[in-house]
Symmetry: C3
Subunit: 138 residues, 3 copies
C-alpha cells in the first residue's frame, strides 16, 4: 500500500512539475536602444526563452532608437534574428513611425520582421490582453 | 442586393476601424534618465500619441535622474513640454523626493508640471488602476 | 452640531489617509544594467519604499548585465544590500542563467541574495500574480 501511495505521489508531483513548466507565458519586449549590446542581449533572451518555453509567445517591439536592430544591412544580430523570427511563437515588429523617421523601406528589413503602425500602441494593446512586459535596455 | 450588402459591409467595417481607433488607452511613462535624448524622445512619443488618440490619457512620471527634464531653466524640452501639459489628456508629474534631493522648488518647475509625493508609488497606483506602463530610456 | 460634523469629517479624512498609506503594494524591480549608478539608485528606491510602506513587498530581480550588483567582492552597494535583504518585505534575486554566464558561484553572492532559474520568468510570474513592474535603468 505504501508503495502504491509513493508511486501515486511521484506521479502527481511530476505532473505538477510538468504543468508548471508548461504554463504558457506571453511576453512583449520593448526595445528602444541604439546600443548593439542591448540588441544582442534581447536576442539572447528571446532565443533562450523560446527554446525553454515552446508553448509560450514572445513578441519584440522595436521603436525610437532601435531602428538599426532590424535593418538587414546594419543589424549586428541579423542572422540570429532571421532564424528566430521563423519560429511560430516569436515575432519581431518594428514601428512604422520609426521607419518613416529613418526613411527605412519594408525591403530594408530583415526577412520575417513585421511592421505595425505604432510601436507603443502595439505594446499597450499586448499589455491590455494580459501579456507581461519586459523593457530591454540598461 | 449585392450592392446593398457591400454598402452595409463597408459601413460595418469602417465603424469597426473607427471604434478601434477610438478605444481609449491609458499610459503611464516612466522617465529616470538624465540623458536629454531620452527627454526628447519621451516628448515626441507623448506628443504624437496625444494627437493620434485624443480620447486617451497619458501621464509622464519623472524621478531619480530625470529632474532636469522639468526644470524651466535647464530642460531641453521646456517649451514643448509646457505646450503639451496644457492638453486635458496629458500630465507631467515629478517626484517630490527627487525635488528634495536636487533642492528644487515648485517655482523652478516648468509651468503646468505637478508634483507627487513618491514617483514610483504614482506609477504603481496607475498600473493597479489598469494603466499600461512604458519605460522610456535606452 | 457643526463642530461634531467637523470632528467626524476630520476623523473620516484621517482614516482615509491612513488607509491610503497602508494599502500594500507589491513591486518587482527589473535590473539589467552594469552601471553602478543604476545599482545605487535601485537600492535607494527600495530602501526608501520599504521604510515608507512596511506592509508592502519588494523584489529586485537582477539578470543580464547586472551580475556584479550582487557579487560580494564587486558590488558597490554590498553593505546596503546585505542590510536591506534582511527585511521581511524585501528580496533580491539573481538569475541562475546569468550566474552561469559569469561563472559565479552561490558563495560569491552577497549573503541573503537568492537565485532563481530564470530572471525574466521570475518577473513575468510576479506580474501575472498582480505585482507592479518597475524597470530600473536610464
Amino acid at each position: 500500500m505504501k508503495t502504491v501511495m509513493q508511486v501515486v505521489c511521484v506521479f502527481l508531483l511530476s505532473t505538477m512539475v510538468m504543468l508548471a513548466q508548461q504554463v504558457p507565458v506571453k511576453i512583449v519586449f520593448d526595445v528602444t536602444s541604439p546600443d548593439t549590446k542591448v540588441h544582442q542581449s534581447t536576442v539572447r533572451h528571446v532565443k533562450a526563452m523560446s527554446q525553454a518555453y515552446p508553448n509560450s509567445k514572445f513578441e519584440v517591439v522595436m521603436y525610437s532608437g532601435a531602428m538599426e536592430m532590424v535593418l538587414k544591412d546594419k543589424s549586428v544580430v541579423a542572422s540570429e534574428l532571421e532564424t528566430l523570427v521563423k519560429k511560430d511563437n516569436v515575432d519581431f515588429v518594428i514601428c512604422q513611425g520609426t521607419m518613416k523617421r529613418y526613411k527605412a523601406k519594408a525591403s530594408d528589413l530583415i526577412p520575417g520582421v513585421r511592421s505595425v503602425p505604432d510601436g507603443i500602441l502595439e505594446i499597450v494593446e499586448k499589455q491590455q490582453q494580459g501579456w507581461s512586459y519586459i523593457k530591454e535596455g540598461q
